[in-house]
Symmetry: C2
């Protein structure tokens, strides 16, 4: 069995074994990197990468120059974010960068903590990542739509686009508040395997992560693209105080893997061997998963899935559909259904309840990023559900 | 030039170049690991270590089992800390574990933040790592001796032993406060290259770091040895919320390097090739540096250095002196001298002022962990100082 309890081999997929689809562990991308063989192999001798310091002349002094260059090249290849004349700040995953941004956008001594909001359904970790240290700098204030109607005072809105859990492309929703508001754009899923790249994003603070771009979650590498020098400096200072930098081993590994990915585009695009290219290959897998999922969901008539409009993708040059990393399932039968509980009880599938995302428990989020065997087992189990109420416990 | 501005090649050690000895970057250990050649080389293919999860059955679910085993073996080889029946929690350096411990030892809803204290001179990063998020859970309250006399209410005392900056072996100083106090033992330097191992440490929370034990600061790996299961759980939860785990690449690399270090002892101690053994080899280097440093300091009569008693070392079985990683220099001439400023102005050596450690600015901390070339240049420059006042700016 693999570390998250999901089996790699068949026996652990037997019907009495719980399928853990609660986290978004990106196992789906492993097969691509396995196919790449030695090209991404990282070799580090015992005497390398020993210093705290990467480059004292950079605001982000603990960032390996190779990673900065790889990040800039990757965005240029994909065209999903402006990087020219922008600062790059590396973090221990985008989790740390979110907190670095909250720190950078607030100051001690205010009368009240700054309100942090995001439109529901919002990413389930924002509330606790905002509040666990009981900071006097900022506090979680919930749904941005509610705040737009009834909130007062300074605020930070987190715009997660495509949104986790529901896959929608988003813009800020708090309006007409003058200079009181600041924005963090969490673009973890703004990559071509999940969504059409509808524009070159150009916001004040944009965060990305190695976990969702290439699937290397275990390395804990994220980065922010930042317009303002002082904000980049404060974010770097936060990471210095929080963890005194970011693993250089992982920074170098990320640089190498991103480099191989980009080389594929720079060398091969004209040769039209698109199945060897990371985004095309994995977009194809996501498209097939969504097709299979929609068939099962339509056949048993128990859940709805969001419908996503086709949009023009600047990366592929085609009109394409989003294929989000999560299925955001809504029970059709009634407001009172606890979908997470029903799925867990009736087919032993562990998702995450809508309550965690600030909405009703008739919603449940299911990861679509597992390996193929687990995904197939999930569909088989889902197809056996005929009604939510009769399956409930 | 290297990343911290100190030269690897001679030209950058020219006398107009500032020697940065402010941080404790452990470059001194690099030559040992270079000698080890390929034995510590880490190879990671593109499809490995991709999951967030290491082992969901462990309280610290993001800790690689190989690292946990290596940490336990290392402590058994050195005999510096009890690990049987203790929980291990991995962190992104001991910086993150210090904050995880503060979180674990406090609870929301108290009338006042818990006071965090440490005996002056205390590690210069404790105040800002405690206060940067303006938490309502805890606040920095300065010198533990002062607090023992005048403080009230619940507190956490951080015991740093051997102490950074002054190299002394320490015990808790706040006494007779009943159940109000909790302790964090920061044992970053409790390794045989720096100090006699005077006892098998057995405290509630003990933190260690890869940076100071083997010198691999760039990997950002630390660990805590924890007695209480709920404290270990809360520390793990903190790290989950702070960075969603710890780089697996670095965890695996640390496990490999610690394994090679321990293999040396398990295979070779009887063979008496002690110069190949990590702690003996590097203790020898530290001993030579301290001898050379004391000669210069005694010759020019401008500074005092602490005197350390010889103590029986359980690891080596000998009476030995401490050889701390920092020189804690005290100007002899008067209370008003700003030693950091004088050293920077007169010989272009950058240390860290005593003020940052909660004491007078006649003290300055200088790293002794640089590479040999920089250390030698430091001694040459230091030997040119004949008086503090006439050199001041």
């Amino acid at each position: 069995p693999s570390a998250n309890g999901n089996g790699i081999r068949s026996p652990t997929c037997s019907s009495d074994h719980v399928l853990n689809l609660e986290q978004g562990d990106p196992a789906v991308f492993e097969s691509y990197w396995r196919k790449m063989g030695d090209r991404c192999t990282m070799v580090i001798s015992g005497c390398q990468l020993m210093s705290y310091i990467s480059d004292f002349t950079n605001i982000c002094w603990f960032m390996e120059p190779e990673l900065e260059e790889a990040v800039r090249t990757l965005h240029c290849v994909v065209g999903n974010a402006v990087v020219d004349d922008r600062y790059i700040v590396v973090g221990t995953g985008s989790t740390q960068l979110y907190q670095a941004a909250l720190y950078a956008l607030t100051s001690p001594g205010g009368p009240e903590p700054v309100s942090v909001v995001s439109a529901a359904p919002y990413y389930s970790s924002y509330p606790e990542e905002t509040d666990y240290l009981c900071s006097r700098l900022y506090k979680w204030a919930g749904d941005a739509y509610e705040f737009d109607k009834n909130g007062t005072g300074p605020y930070i809105e987190v715009v997660n686009s495509p949104n986790n859990p529901d896959g929608t492309l988003r813009e800020a929703v708090v309006k007409s508040r003058g200079d009181e508001g600041k924005l963090i754009h969490d673009l973890a899923y703004y990559w071509p395997q999940y969504t059409p790249i509808i524009r070159l994003a150009d916001h004040d603070i944009m965060t990305f992560t190695f976990s969702k771009s290439t699937g290397h979650a275990g390395s804990r590498i994220g980065w922010a693209v930042v317009k303002d020098k002082e904000i980049a400096r404060k974010m770097s200072k936060f990471i210095e105080m929080s963890t005194l930098g970011v693993s250089k081993d992982s920074q170098q590994r990320a640089a190498k893997i991103m480099g191989v990915l980009c080389d594929g585009y720079q060398n091969c695009k004209s040769a039209n061997k698109s199945d060897d290219l990371f985004f095309e290959h994995n977009r194809q897998i996501m498209a097939e998963r969504w097709e299979r999922l929609r068939q099962v969901v339509e056949r048993n008539q128990v859940f709805c899935l969001p419908k996503y409009p086709k949009q023009y993708c600047l990366f592929s040059g085609e009109l394409i559909e989003p294929y989000p990393g999560f299925a955001w399932l809504e029970a059709k039968e009634g407001e009172e259904i606890d979908s997470q509980k029903v799925l867990r009880g009736s087919i032993k599938v562990q998702g995450r309840t809508g309550r965690r995302f600030g909405v009703a428990e008739k919603y449940v989020r299911i990861s679509l990023l597992s390996n193929e065997e687990v995904f197939k087992e999930f569909l088989e189990r889902l197809s056996t559900i005929k009604s939510m109420s009769s399956n409930g416990h």
